[in-house]
C-alpha cells in the first residue's frame, strides 16, 4: 500500500439491502463513468471546450452519499461529483448540454462544465473558488431550520479545498447553529499537483471537526456501501437536529487535475494500487459474489446506460448554440 493511502474497508455483507437498490447504485456508477468518458471523448474530438475535471475513481463516493439523500434535500456537487448530479435526478442530456455550451442548457452557454445547479432538482451549483459551497449550503440548511423543514444539505470538498477560510467559517457557523449540513471531504490525495502533506500538518482531515465541536467520521470512499451508510447516519443526525457532520472519504483522483494535465507527478504505484480498489469493479465483484448480478445482468444494465448516453449525446448536440444577442445577455444579469 503506497504512502498516504489507508487500508480498504472490510466489505460488509450486502444482505439486508434490496437488490434493486444495490443494482441502482451500480447502474448510477456506470452512468457516471460512461458520461465522464463521453465528456472526455467529446473534448478530445474538439466538440466541447469546457474544463473537464474527471470524476473517475470517485463515482462510489458521489453516488453512495447522494443515495442517502431524499429528493427534497439540497445537494451541492463539486467538480468531481458528477455521480451526485445524476443520482439526484439531473438528466444526462441536461448535464451534457452545459458541457457543450448549448443555448437551451442550464447556463445557456454562460458557464461551462458542471458549473451549474437546478433548483427544480434541488441541486446547488459550485463556483470555481473551492469551499464557497460550504457556507452557501450552510445557508440552505439555515433556511430549513428557520422554516421548520426537516430537509438536509449535503456538499463536498477536497483535501486541497479544505484549506480555504470558507471551509472553516462554514463548518464553524454550521456547528454553532447545529445546522442540518453534511460535508464530505474527498481526500483524493492530490490538489492539482500538490500532495496532501503540503496541504496540512494534521494527521488527517476528519480531526478538524473536533475544532468545530461537530461530529465526524471516516470512510473508505471507494466502498459505495460504506459511503452510503456513513452518510445516512450523518443525514439522520442532521435531520434529528443534532447538527452537522464532517466525513473524510479516503479515495484517489485517477486522472489529472483537468484533461490537459497528464499528472506525471503522481507515483505510478499509487495509481496502480488504487486501480485495484476501483469503486465500480470492486462493487461489481461484490454483487457477483452475492449472486445479485451475473454477466448477462451486467450487459443488460450496460446496454441501457449506453442507450441513455447515446440519446443524451444526440439530443444535447442537437440543441442550439447561443446567438450572442447582447440585449439578451444584459437582460439576464439581474433577476
Amino acid at each position: 500500500m503506497p504512502a498516504r493511502s489507508k487500508r480498504p474497508s472490510k466489505n460488509k455483507d450486502l444482505a439486508g439491502y434490496e437488490p434493486d437498490f444495490l443494482l441502482g447504485l451500480y447502474r448510477d456508477m456506470l452512468r457516471t463513468r460512461a458520461l465522464d468518458s463521453r465528456i472526455e471523448a467529446l473534448y478530445k474530438q474538439g466538440k466541447l471546450v469546457a474544463g473537464c475535471y474527471s470524476s473517475r475513481g470517485q463515482e462510489g463516493c458521489s453516488v453512495g452519499s447522494t443515495a442517502a439523500m431524499r429528493d427534497d434535500d439540497i445537494v451541492g456537487p463539486m467538480i468531481r461529483n458528477l455521480g451526485s448530479m445524476l443520482r439526484h435526478g439531473l438528466p444526462m442530456k441536461f448535464v451534457l448540454s452545459n458541457y457543450l455550451g448549448r443555448a437551451t442548457g442550464p447556463t445557456k452557454g454562460r458557464d461551462g462544465s458542471s458549473h451549474f445547479g437546478s433548483l427544480e432538482h434541488n441541486v446547488f451549483g459550485p463556483i470555481s473558488m473551492l469551499g464557497a459551497l460550504i457556507p452557501v449550503c450552510a445557508g440552505a440548511a439555515l433556511s430549513f431550520q428557520m422554516r421548520g423543514e426537516d430537509r438536509v444539505a449535503l456538499t463536498w470538498i477536497g483535501d486541497g479545498g479544505s484549506n480555504v477560510g470558507d471551509f472553516h467559517e462554514g463548518l464553524n457557523f454550521a456547528g454553532v447553529l447545529k445546522l442540518p449540513l453534511v460535508l464530505i471531504l474527498e481526500n483524493n490525495k492530490w490538489a492539482y499537483s500538490t500532495p496532501i502533506e503540503y496541504q496540512t500538518a494534521a494527521k488527517d482531515f476528519a480531526c478538524r471537526a473536533e475544532g468545530y465541536g461537530i461530529a465526524s467520521d471516516t470512510v473508505d470512499g471507494n466502498d459505495i456501501i460504506a459511503v452510503y451508510e456513513v452518510t445516512k447516519k450523518a443525514v439522520e443526525r442532521a435531520r434529528n437536529g443534532d447538527g452537522p457532520t464532517l466525513i473524510e472519504a479516503d479515495t484517489m483522483r485517477m486522472r489529472g487535475h483537468a484533461i490537459h494535465d497528464d499528472a506525471k507527478y503522481v507515483p505510478k504505484e499509487q495509481l496502480e494500487y488504487w486501480e485495484t480498489r476501483d469503486p465500480v469493479e470492486t462493487f461489481r465483484a461484490r454483487l457477483k459474489k452475492a449472486k445479485l448480478l451475473d454477466d448477462d445482468g451486467h450487459d443488460s444494465i450496460m446496454a441501457a446506460v449506453k442507450q441513455e448516453l447515446e440519446t443524451a449525446t444526440d439530443e444535447a448536440t442537437a440543441m442550439p448554440l447561443p446567438t450572442g444577442d447582447r440585449d439578451t445577455e444584459l437582460g439576464d444579469v439581474y433577476a
Binding site: T107, F116, I134, M146, F173
Partner: protein
C-alpha cells in the same frame, strides 16, 4: 409625528419589513443581544427572537455564504457588516457567487448587505473607507447610497423587496446628524431613480451619500454670492439614473462630480465619462471631480480633514467651474 434620525429610519424600515414578510431575517455580528454596533437592530431580538435575529460568529464569509444559500431558497436576509471595510473578508462570496449566480444558472439571490460606511468619524484605515467602487463594476450587484432620512427608509425597503443582491451603504456621519419627519404607511423609494436635492441654474453637482449633505451646505453659502447650484443625489449607483445626470448637465452646462471615496477608480470617473460621452456638446467648462486623496483613510483629525473633500474644496471647485 416626531422626527427620526437616519439610523432610526433604517431600523424602522427593517422592523416593518420583518413584520411584513416572514422570509425576511437579519444576521450579523453583535446584532442581536447587543442590538448592533450602531444600534440599528436594537430591540429586534426581543421582538422577533433567534434565529430570525441571528448573532453570528465573527465570520464574514459565513455571513455572506449563509445569506446566499438561504436567499436562493427564497429567504430574504439582511446581513450586517459591522463596518463596510470588513466586507473585504466576504468579497469573494459577493462578487463571484451572489453577483453571478442569476446570470449563470437562474436562481434569484434576494439579499441586502448593510455597510456602515465612510469617514468624518476619525475611524482610520479600517473603519472609515467608502468601498462602493469595489462593487459598482460587478455586474449582478446593486449599490445603494442613501443621503437622507427619507431615502434611508425608502431605499432599505426597496432593497429588501428586490430580487437581487443589494449593497446598502449607510453613512455613519449621517446616522444621528440628520433628522426628519417621515410619512406614515407603507412606501418605498425605487432603486435607480436619482433626486434633485436642490434646484439650481448655474452648475450641477452630481453626488451621493454624505456629500449630498456637505454640498447642500456649500450651495447655501454660494447662493449668497449669486451662484445657483443644482445638486443631484444619485441615491443608487447601480442601477444608475443616467438620464437625471444628463438632464441636469444639459440645463446648467457646468458640472462638478463629488464623492467621499478616493478619486482614482472612484465612481466619479464613471459619471464623468458618461457626461463626456453623452453631453459633451452641452458643456461650457471641463468636468471637475472632487474626491478624497488617493491614500488610505488616515486617523488623526488633521489628516482626515486633509484627506476628505472639505467644504472649501467643494466651494473652490464650484467657483472654478462657474467662472471657467
Amino acid at each position: 409625528m416626531s422626527a427620526i434620525t437616519y439610523i432610526e429610519a433604517i431600523r424602522e424600515a427593517m422592523y416593518e419589513e420583518l413584520h411584513r414578510d416572514p422570509d425576511v431575517y437579519c444576521l450579523g455580528e453583535d446584532i442581536g443581544t447587543y442590538g448592533g454596533a450602531f444600534r440599528a437592530t436594537a430591540g429586534f431580538l426581543e421582538e422577533f427572537g433567534r434565529p430570525r435575529i441571528l448573532d453570528t460568529p465573527l465570520s464574514e464569509i459565513a455571513i455572506m455564504g449563509a445569506s446566499i444559500g438561504s436567499a436562493m431558497l427564497g429567504m430574504r436576509p439582511i446581513a450586517e457588516m459591522q463596518f463596510a471595510d470588513f466586507v473585504a473578508n466576504g468579497f469573494n462570496m459577493l462578487v463571484n457567487f451572489a453577483a453571478k449566480v442569476h446570470y449563470r444558472w437562474g436562481p434569484s439571490c434576494p439579499m441586502v448587505v448593510r455597510l456602515p460606511t465612510g469617514g468624518g468619524t476619525r475611524g482610520g484605515p479600517f473603519h472609515a473607507t467608502n468601498p462602493e467602487a469595489w462593487f459598482t463594476r460587478v455586474p449582478g450587484l446593486k449599490v445603494v447610497c442613501p443621503a437622507t432620512v427619507y431615502d434611508a427608509k425608502g431605499l432599505m425597503k426597496a432593497a429588501v423587496r428586490d430580487d437581487n443582491p443589494v449593497l446598502y451603504f449607510e453613512h455613519k456621519y449621517l446616522y444621528r446628524r440628520l433628522k426628519d419627519e417621515l410619512p406614515q404607511g407603507d412606501w418605498i423609494v425605487p432603486l435607480g431613480e436619482a433626486r434633485v436635492a436642490r434646484e439650481g441654474r448655474d452648475v450641477s453637482v452630481i453626488t451621493y451619500g454624505s456629500m449630498v449633505y456637505h454640498a447642500g451646505l456649500v450651495a447655501e453659502t454660494l447662493a449668497a454670492d449669486g451662484i445657483d447650484v443644482e445638486i443631484i443625489d444619485l441615491r443608487s449607483l447601480i442601477p444608475l439614473d443616467e438620464e437625471a445626470i444628463l438632464e441636469s448637465v444639459r440645463k446648467t452646462n457646468r458640472v462638478v462630480v463629488l464623492h467621499e471615496d478616493t478619486k482614482t477608480g472612484g465612481f466619479g470617473g464613471e459619471i464623468s465619462a458618461r457626461i463626456a460621452e453623452f453631453a459633451f456638446e452641452h458643456l461650457d467648462a471641463p468636468i471637475r471631480r472632487v474626491a478624497s486623496l488617493d491614500t488610505p483613510v488616515p486617523h488623526a483629525p488633521q489628516l482626515e480633514d486633509a484627506f476628505m473633500p472639505m467644504p472649501a474644496d467643494i466651494e473652490a471647485a464650484i467657483r472654478a467651474t462657474v467662472t471657467y
